[in-house]
Symmetry: C2
DNA sequence: ATTCTAAACGCGAATTATTTGCAAATAATT
DNA sequence: AATTATTTGCAAATAATTCGCGTTTAGAAT
């Protein structure tokens, strides 16, 4: 299966063993349409893996930049594949709805920041999320 | 005391009672040089308050926009006063060091996003944090 | 193919972070 | 001073994440 071979290589290239759980976790993210929490990954796995295994995998994959961590303000971390085209999230503070946002052009900002920073040598990632109210929540609130 | 009077008004204006714990919590943030976790607030309080009280206060103050929540990737929320001049954070993935970043000009981006969004009515806040490696961690790593 | 070994796993328990229910206390209003 | 809706403290619950450790296993070396 070619998809698994690609993931297998990806893991090996980062110095990890290509274990069934890690391959399965990557598979779950490949299918996902939105950032997933550890619990959602656990639930979505075809053959169950221990929660410690999943947490460890998420952490490692995030450290190597295969996944990226997203803060949706839900008191727990979410992750998504890092190789998606550059985008950010618009999150409804009332209902949690997520919309994808493109074209924020952060590379330029990052290099400018780095040039003027006293203490930092490198920027590896950034998180840019917008929190607001979605239209249906806004409508619902007007009625009250 | 004039400073407390200002905070007292701020709280009342948001519909809250100006209780000693909330005034003390605002006092702690006023002195702080960096975003604080709930635990750090608890430790910094002159007269101790219960953790439930502190968590409840942080949540309310964040909802009313007096505090804002920051994600430093430490598995717990941090907060800072919302009325600081617009800035963001540069966080070292290796040691946690924080540097303040100015001039990211997000208002323009926000209004553009809102104009092109299908589902969102309003943007209330954003989080923009940069994660990288600080110079001293970079140096330490080279030696290894 | 078999052996070897560091890395990864599963399990259970520990930690850490945050929330909740409820009775008592209290800030603001009258 | 009396009233009342908020807020507090306490203790316990829940949620999120991590850790220790004995066992298994992927990949390298024979």
């Amino acid at each position: 299966m070619t998809k698994n071979d690609a993931n297998r290589q990806l893991l090996r290239k980062s110095g990890y063993k290509a274990t069934p759980s890690r391959l399965a976790i990557l598979g779950v993210f490949k299918k996902a349409k939105k950032p997933l929490s550890a619990q959602e990954v656990i639930n979505a796995l075809p053959r169950s893996a221990d929660q410690a295994t999943v947490y460890r995998a998420l952490k490692s994959l995030n450290e190597k930049g295969i996944l990226r961590q997203i803060d949706l303000r839900h008191n727990h971390a979410h992750y998504e594949l890092a190789d998606l085209t550059e985008h950010h999230h618009l999150i409804c503070l009332a209902c949690g709805k997520i919309e994808i946002v493109h074209h924020c052009n952060m590379e330029e900002t990052e290099s400018r920041i780095l040039r003027s920073s006293k203490h930092f040598a490198e920027i590896k990632q950034h998180a840019l999320e917008f929190y607001g109210i979605c239209k249906s929540c806004a409508a619902r609130r007007k009625k009250l």
